[in-house]
Structures are given as structure tokens and as C-alpha cells.
Amino acid sequence: MTNRQKKNLLRIGLSAALFITGLLLPAGPLKIAALMITYLLVGWDVLREAAENIWHGEIFDENFLMSVATIGAIAIGEYPEAALVMLLYQIGEFFQAYALGKSRQSIAALMDIRPDTANVERDGAVLTVSPEEVAPGETLVVKPGERVPLDGVVIEGVSALNTSALTGESLPRDVTPGDEVISGCVNQSGLLRVRATKPYGESTVAKILDLVENASAKKARTESFITRFARVYTPAVCALALLLFALPPLLTGGGWRMWGERALSFLVVSCPCALGISVPLTFFGGIGGASRKGILVKGGTDLEQLANAEIVVFDKTGTLTEGSFKVTVIHPEKVTEQELLRLAATVETFSDHPISRSIRAQYHLPVDASGLSDVREIAGQGVSATLDGHTVYAGNLALMDTIGVTVPTCPHAGTVVHVAQNGEYLGHIVISDEMKPGSREAIAALRREGIRKTVMLTGDSQAVADDVAGKLGIDEVHAHLLPAGKVEQVEALLLQTTGKGKLVFVGDGVNDAPVLTRADIGVAMGALGSDAAVEAADVVLMDDDPRKLALAVRAARHTRRIATENILFALGVKLLALALVAIGLANMWIAVLADVGVSFLAILNATRALRIR
């Protein structure tokens, strides 16, 4: 509680005591005095602000309403009512500020990934400095239990890192020398020495904090709507109050006092504060909760639009697939798998082609090139060499054709390397871009969330595209696309969205930036994605896991639902209160109570947005 809040609480306490005293006193000047002092004690700042604001041209605000209502009450001699209403109003304001403070605190705690200090090795000693003071290239010491202060590479030590604060992953990540580590993670078991690769300002944790803190800059349409609504609502209700005051008595020829009272109560109910606070808080809570799961949403609008996601378009390489080429199938005909691999790896040992590198990587063992001679690289086809006296050819179909070796038909999508020894076909090795383990589940999860259509765009061949799409269960595929082609496809798909439906594009490469901007919601892969993609995107998945997309959509819908609940609840109760006041079933202080209660509950409900399953 801030100092200001504590003083307020004291004031409320004193006023309440004074009020009760006033109530208990017998009717007379002393009673009036007690009640009026209570009123002034608890309402002087409200009155002053109302006066000041009118002076500045801002007439219609809650201070004005409360002032007019209570002064009116005093004018008709309802001293207890005036004092009680003002007292309840201040209690309401107090709880609102308190709840708001608590919500802000829990959001801040959620984002407490900021490393406070860094231990850096300088001139043989370990100094504790602030993370901003460490330069790239310096060596950091991260003890167990400490947070990694800057992005870097492990140079010594073996440990496990808790990355949950940044990625939502509960399983710790094992690291050994040579591994990259990102700032914000908590070192769990062993001491690590890390060489910093980026300054603090450019490290992951600083970027995430920056993103979340500035996230609400892009306000959700609902948020802006509510603020505009509030500005109209207050004068409207005041006008209604005036009508309520004047019309019935004029029509029925009497009852000014009664209608006057009701009009005053009307004014009290007209404060739109509950709406105003709870909606932005809800969206911010949603953003905070999502970031805890490793999903960074850049703005309230993005969260809102994500809730309406209808079509999801994926880039293939790097998004649904790992983006690195690996041996996926080894299909030997006459020899063992290992033997086939050895032959291919040995023959390709001097080639720098990515295919050769993947084969060698799969082989894993150091290549024994002692029996190797006469290595020739045949452009566009493969390699040939003499190995231990045998003639070995490794390459594509064209190469096999050239040497007259028949290849059995075996459908594999991807790049196929056939191996022949002495004119005999030995088998083939397929290299393809491995699918991410979660990709299939990612698509299934999206379908479960009600996404109408999933699409995949790729620059790869149709065969590979169809293969991947088939394995993942994707609805529509477009292959052979150049970057411009991807934009065209997205524009065509945008026309297919219905009503409020939005198009989501998920990508990672530099060439995805224009598409990310064009889509309603652009989602970028954060860890391995290019900086340009991350910049252009509206949502960033910190751990590159496509499954997080379905979670993001769920989070967006959850947040939107809470915001809608709050709006309906607040408006509903207000309208009910207005109706009750108009027919005389509720008086001023019940109205204030309703207002206070609604605000409080709406704020509490908003904090539910922080929890995302």
C-alpha cells in the first residue's frame, strides 16, 4: 500500500467513526454538524477536483457527478445520505486503487525475469556489476540459483537451465560447453562460465521485458471502444437524470422532492469506472499470462484478433520443419545400413555440398579415407571414387542412369542419394528437412480450436510439400513459391476469411517479413527466426514450437471472454441500478454500493486473464 493509500484508509476510518457517531446522535445541530464534518472530511478532494475540472473545461467526470449528487442531497436535507454516499464512494475508490495495485504487482512478478546483477571476470577477479555494464566477449560466472544475465555461449561447466520464465517449458534444458544460453534463465545445478555474446540491451531478456511493457500500446478495439463509450455515457446519464428530475413532476404536477432524490441517485450510478479499469487490465493480464508461456503478444489488438483466427497459414522450412537437412531414411539393398552410410560418407568426404555434410553427420564416425582414390565430382549428379579397389558411385537418378544402374522405384520425398558399387545397386539414402516433433500435434490442436483451414506455403518442390502436408494433416498446400508468390497467396486467402475471421501467418525467415506484415496476425519463431521476422510479427513464439499457436489462440479467446464478461456484468448491473432508482426501489447509497461492488468484482475477474492453461 502506498503512503497515499494509507492516509486514505485512515481518513476513511475516521470518517466512518464520525459518521456512526452522527447517526447515533439525536436530531439537532450536533447531529448535522457531525454528519457535515464527515461529509467534508471524506469529500473535500472530490469537490475540489470537480471545481478544478469544470474550470479547465472538463465538466463531466465522476467527481462532478458525486459532487452534484451529494450537494443535492444536502440541499434537500438528506445529510446522512450525503455523508454515506461520499463515504462509500471513497471506500470504493480505495478498493479500486488497492486491487489495481495488486494486479499490477502480480503482472510485474510474472515478468520478474530481470537479472539484477552479473558476475564478470575481470583481471583475474570476479566482480559483481549491473548487467548493463558487461561488454560482449567478457566472461560471466553464473552460480547455481542465479539468473543468466546476458545472452552468451557456455565455455565451461555442465548444468541444467530453467527456461520456464521465458518459454513456458517446465523441463530444464541441459547445457554443456559450446551451447548457447539466453538471458533470463535460471541456472539450476552446476557452476557455469559463459562468454557474453550480446550487450544487455540486446539480450533476450531485455527484449522480452521491453516487448511486454510496451505491449498495450496497440490498444485492443474493445479497449478503445470502452473509453469512448465512457465519455459519452456520463453526459448521457446526466441528461437522463435531468429528465427524471423534471419530467415526471411536470407531468404529474408534484413530487419534485422525490424525483429530485431519484435524479440525484441516477447521477451516482452513472460513473463508468468499473468498465474503464477492468478492460485494459484484462488485456494486459492476457498478454502477461501468455508471455509466461513463451508467447509474446505485442499488443491488445493482436490478442483480440487472434481470438478470431479462422485461417492459419504456415511457412514450411524452419516453421513446421527443423530447417536443417538430415538423413531421414537409409534404404540398403544388399548391404547393411551402416555399410551403405559408410560408403556414401567416405566417397563424399571431400565434398562441401550440404547433402554430403548431412550424410557425414549421420555417419558420425571419422571417415577412413585410406582406401580412397580418384574422387571425382560430377556436377549436378553426384560423386564417383575408387574405394578399396571398388568403383563407387553416389548421386541422384541422373547419375545412376549414366552408369546404367537400374533403380527400383521407391517413393520418397526429399533428396535421394543412390549408391552403386561396381555397377551394382546398393541402396539409397534420403535426406530431407525433418519435421518438428510437435508439428502434427500443432495442426491437430488448431483444428480442435475450431480453425477452419490450415495452409502451408513453401518454396520447395510440390512433391516434398505434398508429403509434408499429408503427414501433418494440412488442408491446403502451395509449393514452388518465391517470396512474392507467398504474399500473393496470402492475399488470395485473406479474401476467403468470413465475417470477423482473421488470417494468421506463421514464419521465420527474412523473406517472411512482408507476408507477416500483410497477414492479420503475423507469428514469428523467436529463437531461430530472423530478426526481421521477429520485428515484423505481431506475436513471437519464444521456443519455436508450433504447438504454442493453438495455446495462443486459446489464451486470446480466454482473455476476450473475460473482457466481455466484465463489460456485460458492469453494464448490466448499472442498468439494473438505474432502473431500480427510477422506479424508487433503490436509493442513493445502494446505488453507490452497486457501483463499488461491480468495480471490485470486475478487477478481480480481470486478474483471471493471467492464468492460461
Binding site: 475508490e93 469506472c273 478492460v279 485494459p280
Partner: protein, 71 residues
């Protein structure tokens, strides 16, 4: 130039909106945005006149909402 400041005592979203509109009206301000939840004011103005504009913004903010200060 774009800079972010912290605002004290912003407890109501309607008030935040009021402040935002008041700041936008200040001479020399090209863009302004107030985030009520984080209590931040993002101000964009001409590099040359920035300090002047900031001073005017401070006054505008105090006028719009009593007790609210730009830190």
C-alpha cells in the same frame, strides 16, 4: 524523438484517456500514448524542440489530472 515516461497516480482508465488527449493537443507533440496499466506515457516530438514540448506536456498533464506527474 520518442521517449517513455512514468506517470504517477493513474488509477482510472478514463483518466488515462483524458491525459492522453490533453497531451496530444500540446503544440509540437507528434504522437502520444498513455498506457494505464503500466502507468507509462510514450511521447513523440520534434528533436529540436523536445525539452520545450516536454515542459508543456508536464503542465498539460497536471491540469488534466491533479496529482499526476511525469517522472
Amino acid at each position: 524523438m520518442k521517449k517513455t515516461y512514468k506517470l504517477s497516480e493513474v488509477d482510472c482508465a478514463v483518466c488515462a484517456d483524458k491525459i492522453e488527449r490533453a497531451v496530444r493537443k500540446v503544440d509540437g507533440v507528434t504522437a502520444a500514448s498513455v498506457q494505464f496499466v503500466t502507468q507509462k506515457l510514450t511521447l513523440e516530438a520534434d528533436d529540436a524542440a523536445f525539452d520545450e514540448v516536454l515542459a508543456k506536456v508536464r503542465t498539460a498533464v497536471s491540469k488534466a489530472e491533479r496529482g499526476c506527474e511525469v517522472i
